[in-house]
């Protein structure tokens, strides 16, 4: 267990003006009793709506913010008390806060970080080469950071966070604002990192494709509470999201026809297009039954939509 949090809480005092001089103080819990354990080598998606407490949690795990209550250990260390020791063992990419030297060529940041983290020359070169190959840094490593595109900069940030071989990598919205190609580059890089298995990754994101492609385990947080902790499939099961079969027919759909294991949700286009929602049965069985009952022209099976699930989840809790 590389990360453990029990009853983790962060309260902020917010003052609000009431009247000319008086101010009212309110305590707002950004994180309100989060329990979380992460095993070594896991890739965890930490998701939730804006203001749910994702970033605040990450900042408590990295020693940036002091928790108001609860217990937290990362790599066996208490993050705030052992901040600098922990810093050598974790890597951090906070989308909006660059770790790079703005006015200097990208490679200068890398060599500065080598000295800051005291990485032996050989290890540094090997890790840099690996990142460079996977992320295609070579074409812009001599460019000052301020002239990089967001996508290039993010690849630089990822590399910068990994050069000291951290045990845990914290990523706060690493794909936000990136173009499609850069997103793909970041995702496949993280997939690769995950496959190698020696780096634990905790990732916050709003990007549903990130979730589907990367995260085996999802922790959903809302209003400072964990509302779901499990796999994507479990999330689907819990919110009863189902696969959908859409079939185009040669002849109109016979009214009143039912198929075992599926529910007819709509009949359109002169009864020549029918939408079925799977309910327990495997897609193959339903398709076979369908083919027997009617004459099929075209057919598609749609996976449950994570977007729907997540938006339902967010709505549910708010």
């Amino acid at each position: 267990m590389i990360i453990s949090a029990r009853g983790l809480r962060k309260d902020f005092t917010v003052t609000r003006k009431v009247g000319r001089l008086r101010r009212e103080r309110h305590v707002v819990s950004a994180v309100d009793g989060v329990d979380l354990t992460v095993e070594r080598g896991e890739l965890l998606g930490y998701i939730g709506p804006n203001g749910a407490g994702k970033s605040t949690t990450l900042k408590m795990l990295t020693g940036v913010l002091t928790p108001s209550g609860g217990e937290v250990r990362v790599c066996g260390l208490e993050p705030v008390a052992k901040r600098t020791t922990l810093a050598r063992r974790i890597g951090v990419v906070f989308g909006q806060r660059s770790q790079l030297w703005w006015d200097l060529p990208l490679e200068d940041s890398f060599s500065l970080l080598r000295h800051i983290y005291r990485v032996p020359e050989g290890d540094h070169a090997a890790r840099l080469k690996q990142c460079s190959d996977l992320l295609g840094l070579d074409e812009f490593r001599h460019t000052p950071v301020r002239q990089l595109s967001l996508g290039q900069r993010m690849r630089g940030e990822l590399t910068a966070a990994l050069l000291h071989g951290p045990e845990v990598l914290f990523l706060d919205e690493p794909t936000i604002g990136l173009d499609v190609l850069s997103k793909q580059a970041v995702r496949s890089f993280l997939t690769d990192l995950d496959r190698r298995g020696d780096t634990t990754v905790v990732l916050t994101t709003h990007d549903l494709a990130d979730i589907e492609k990367l995260c085996r385990r999802l922790v959903v947080i809302d209003h400072g509470h964990v509302v779901h902790d499990g796999t994507l499939d479990e999330l689907h099961a819990r919110y009863r999201s189902r696969r959908i079969i859409v079939a185009d027919l040669d002849t109109p759909w016979p009214e009143g026809l039912t198929l075992p294991g599926a529910v007819v949700t709509s009949v359109e286009a002169d009864a020549r297009r029918v939408t079925l929602t799977l309910d327990g049965a495997a897609a193959g069985e339903v398709v076979a039954a369908l083919a027997q009952a009617v004459s099929l022209r075209d057919l598609s099976v749609q996976e449950p939509n994570i977007e729907d699930v997540v938006s339902r989840l967010y709505r549910d809790e708010s």
Partner: protein, 270 residues
Amino acid sequence: MAEILETTRVYGRVLRAQVRSQAQYRTSMLLEILGSMVVNGLDIATVFVLFSVTGALGGFNGTEVLLMTALAAAGFTVGDLVAGSSDRLREYVRSGLFDSLLVRPLSALVQLAVITFALRRVGRAAQGLVLYVVALCVADIPWTVGRVLFAVIVPISGAVFFASLFIGGATVAFWWIESGEVANAFTYGGRDFTSYPSTMYGGWFRDLFTLGLGFGFVAYFPGLVLLGKPDPLGLPTAVAWCSPLVAVIAACVAAVFWRIGVRHYRSTGS
């Protein structure tokens, strides 16, 4: 020891990177250096012009007052060189950029000093030190080994004192982001206070700043020690030698403020 040396080397590298970053904007940097050279030159000229006219102040003659002014200048400018930019902490706290200092395996305070380092302050510090050396030469000092040592230590302790003040003042930003210029009243105001003999001021104001807040230990008391004069205000000579101790106390207080402040840091949105 090796550990300290290695850490210092790392900070040195980050500092050089910072200077290199500033050097990217060549014209701006050249103008800044040129400007500060002109201003510093004028500053020194002003001091000499001023002292050539009157000089005597609060019961001290011209060269004696110059020594105190120079001590204040040396302490302040060197302190300013090290920590003068720490009021920029406000920007870092407000924008949440302070986060990125906290995730590195280095002291956040030293990082802040390094990344806000401004080359133009080197000129000012040089000016302060030159003025100090000149003042030591022209003042009538009964040199002893103790005084030589003291003359070396005192600008350092003055610098530590002012650096502590800068840092302590900057930590206000952890509590009130809109802290404004409150701290400057003590830093720049303190410099102006220490530039003249404390005997010039009167009543509770003098006692508060000279003794209560410790400003007398930057230039006034050390000046008396170097000149071998008793305190006209009647404090025992031993007190006057306490400048380094006062600097250490100031540094400890600032360090405590900083530590508590960092724990109060709230960061900002995502």
